[in-house]
């Protein structure tokens, strides 16, 4: 913080000495915007220039020693990179684009960040104020377009609005339940000069980011937990966003409760923790899904009962008392009725809950999870990660990455079978290690998100796991990796199909593989075209050594693994089925 303030002072001081010291310092809106970003501690942003945002780019040029701008090869890539950066670091990701098509290309990333509660500020240029509403060149109503997919958005039409609006943008993006904010700035506002001063936003009167926890609700929750015979915890990303990993661990251990996670909650508790019983949801683990309908108290923390988690709602945990810890009041009773709702930040509410919790063990109940795990291991996991038949599986690739990285890597996944397999089998020993597009399921997310994740955690290994389909949705971002030598490890699990859709076609559409067979290019050659070290393997004997070589490399590395073409992900709760109807095959 001190550094940032200092930087701002320095640049303003330089200005001052070069002008009449008595005259107030006038700077352009574009320059003011840069000062706002610096004041908010932004070091890196992702974007793409164009006419309506050129004054800002001109300032980015001047400030390039203080603020890094990464030119992604498509604006969608800029948003996903900003998301990856935000998710791994807990800071606000920043993306910038021009008006019209530049702005519309941000929409997927905005929607993704909105549904996955990722703090992001997007800045778009807009035609000059006089031209608004005239269908000017590259004018588009990005405020109207982005409204449903932003936590907040605002159009700045004069320079003097910039400091206050930008301060508010960052405050809103990161406070409470985080989310994306879009600020559209007309070109005149970037050019006009005004007297700049900056004050951080500390509150907005109509916005209560964090509800105050009610002690009576916490007591009621504690009573239910202390009296439960078969309690079960399902946590979500709320633990990570609330920085409540330690409190979760203490709760799980003190109360002796088996705990499972949603895909967005992955990595908040070590995979190897004895009470971590796995993932819930459509392709989650057998035990936690099945036993959701057998627990007597379901303690849901920082999760939102997405349909991929609950299956058929009317048969979801009907026998259980439901306790819902949540920061967003609109999530309470949205999908599942809460017998007790505890509103507030998870770190605070769990902190208040802990002293009320009695030391307990539920070994018999925990053993049922272990029995179910054994069934799942024998029928599925064994064959996924230690296959004996020919044809590489996605699971064994993930397992080798675990071994080679000592469970320490950040795993960034795209969307499809490889995503489910990676989330099922990747092992985590540190929070914020699973970066995936959970709510929107955006193919093309992983490659740019991995770039952002690496830049947000330079000291960590970042491995992107991508399908052959999704890879080609944002493949152009190899250019960023090439240009900036960003040492991410890219693993394409190539089954020559849009695997997840093909699996549904196999199971539910009598194997009519409509448009899911992929005719793929030579990915290794493409990577080599970007001067990225690249390998392709298709045999088990080469797997271990190659993964080790990849993980040991200090450079970007591309690995294509030819995996079996018609592998399926199990267990599976077919869409519309109950969690009790989870299929092992």
């Amino acid at each position: 913080m001190k550094g940032v303030g200092w930087r701002l002072m320095e640049t303003l001081k330089e200005k001052k000495t070069s002008t009449d010291s008595k005259k107030a310092i006038q700077i352009s809106g574009a320059e003011a915007l840069i000062h706002c970003l610096l004041a908010e501690g932004v070091e890196t942003m992702y974007g793409y220039p164009g006419g309506a945002i050129m004054p800002v780019y001109d300032e980015l040029y001047k400030f390039q020693d203080k603020l890094t701008h990464i030119l992604t090869r498509h604006e969608q890539g800029a948003t996903h990179a900003a998301q990856g950066y935000a998710r791994v670091s807990g800071r606000v990701g920043v993306a910038i684009a021009t008006s019209g098509p530049g702005a519309t290309n941000l929409v997927t990333g905005l929607a993704d960040a909105q549904i996955d509660s990722t703090p992001m500020v997007c800045i778009t240029g807009q035609v000059t104020r006089e031209l608004l509403g005239t269908d000017a060149f590259q004018e588009t109503d990005i405020i109207g377009i982005s409204t449903p997919v932003t936590k907040w958005n605002y159009q700045i039409t004069e320079a003097s609005e910039i400091p206050e609006v930008m301060a508010k943008a960052f405050y809103i993006a990161k406070s409470g339940r985080p989310g994306p904010v879009l600020i559209d700035i007309t070109k005149n506002a970037q050019i006009e000069k005004f007297e700049f001063s900056y004050k951080k936003c500390t509150g907005v009167r109509s916005y209560k980011p964090v509800p105050k926890p009610e002690i009576s609700a916490i007591q009621a929750a504690a009573d239910l937990i202390n009296n439960a015979k078969k309690p079960f915890i399902v946590w979500g990303q709320g633990i990570i966003l609330g920085k409540a990993e330690k409190e979760l661990k203490q709760l799980v251990e003190k109360a002796g409760i088996p705990a499972a996670w949603t895909i967005m909650g992955a990595s908040a508790l070590d995979t190897d923790h004895r009470l971590n019983v796995g993932m819930v949801g459509m392709h989650g683990n057998y035990g936690p899904n099945l036993l959701t309908n057998e627990c007597d108290v379901l303690l849901a923390i920082g999760m939102r009962f997405d349909d991929r988690v609950t299956g058929r709602l009317k048969d979801y945990a009907k026998q259980a008392k439901v306790i819902h810890f949540e920061i967003d009041p609109s999530e309470i009773n949205k999908n599942v009725f809460a017998d007790v709702a505890v509103l507030g930040n998870s770190k605070e509410t769990l902190g208040l809950l802990l002293p009320l919790i009695k030391d307990s063990k539920h070994e018999a109940w925990h053993n049922i999870f272990k029995e179910k795990y054994q069934i799942e291991f024998d029928t599925i996991i064994k064959n996924d990660i230690h296959p004996t038949k020919p044809g590489l599986t996605m699971g064994e690739v993930i397992e080798e990455i675990n071994l080679a990285s000592n469970n320490k890597a950040v795993i960034v996944t795209d969307v499809g079978q490889h995503q489910m397999i990676a989330c099922r089998y990747a092992k985590f020993s540190q929070s914020k290690s699973n970066i995936t597009s959970g709510g929107l399921g955006t193919m093309g997310f992983a490659l740019p998100a991995a770039i952002g994740a690496k830049m947000g955690a330079m000291d960590r290994e970042v491995v992107a796991i991508i399908g052959d389909g999704g890879f080609q949705m944002t493949i152009q971002e190899l250019g960023v990796i090439f240009q900036h030598k960003i040492p991410v490890k890219i693993v394409v699990l190539n089954n020559d199909h849009l695997g997840m859709v093909r699996q549904w076609q196999e199971l539910f559409f009598e194997k009519r593989y409509a448009s899911t067979v992929m005719v793929n290019p030579d990915f290794v050659k493409i990577a080599e075209g970007y001067s990225i070290e690249a390998k392709r393997i298709s045999e088990r004997k080469d797997l271990k050594a190659t993964i080790q070589e990849m993980m040991a490399s200090k450079n970007p590395y591309f690995l294509e693994v030819k995996v079996e073409q018609e592998g399926n992900v199990f267990p599976m709760i077919p869409s519309g089925a109950s969690v009790s109807e989870i299929r092992l095959q």
Binding site: T147, P148, Y154, S206, S330, F337
Partner: protein, 181 residues
């Protein structure tokens, strides 16, 4: 504040949603988008100032289930510029609509019955000109509809009805929320 298991009635009902908010250009779009996303029709919408300076009030009428109105109000309240949003059933509010009827002037003199309709319905004549006169009527939807049915046979040149406006029987405490800030 939160309902317990299974307590929601699943049949459609009329609900009045009241939204207290900052004055903001984009907010109407945000709010209407919440209905659009859920494919729920807005039956009427009124925006006005409220009892608090600089605070606007939206009054929105919908016909839906309590589950959905709860969901919608939660989403509305989540919007940054919204101070507070509530939903109420008809018996929890005092509500009115107003309507204007434009009628050919000749009828006022030729058809005695029209004057009786105006009187019986507690309506007012707002203006009279050579060609037409305008009747204003406020009241519940059913009362306005009744008057409409009575005037219809004589010929209505134009008709318009406003959105519902309503106040609640219980206290809203918006000022207290704002003071907390």
């Amino acid at each position: 504040m939160h309902k317990r298991k299974g307590k929601w009635l699943m049949e459609n009902k009329w609900f009045t949603i009241s939204v207290y908010s900052e004055n903001n250009v984009g907010l109407l779009n945000r709010i209407s988008g919440i209905f659009l996303k859920r494919h729920i029709n807005i039956e009427s919408l009124n925006v006005s100032k409220s009892e608090i300076d600089d605070v606007s009030k939206f009054t929105i009428v919908v016909n839906t289930t309590e589950k959905w109105v709860h969901n919608i109000v939660g989403q509305i309240e989540k919007q940054i510029e919204v101070i507070k949003a509530f939903y109420h059933t008809d018996d929890e509010t005092i509500y009115q609509e107003s309507a204007l009827f434009k009628i050919a002037s000749g009828l006022l003199f030729d058809e005695r019955q029209i004057q009786n309709i105006i009187k019986d319905n507690n309506a007012q004549i707002v203006t009279v000109s050579r060609d037409f006169f305008v009747i204003a009527k406020s009241g519940r939807r059913s009362e306005v509809d009744e008057m409409y049915d009575q005037l219809k046979p004589y010929g209505i040149m134009q008709f318009v009805r406003s959105g519902r406006i309503s106040v609640t029987k219980d206290v809203m405490q918006i000022s207290a929320i704002l003071k907390e800030f």
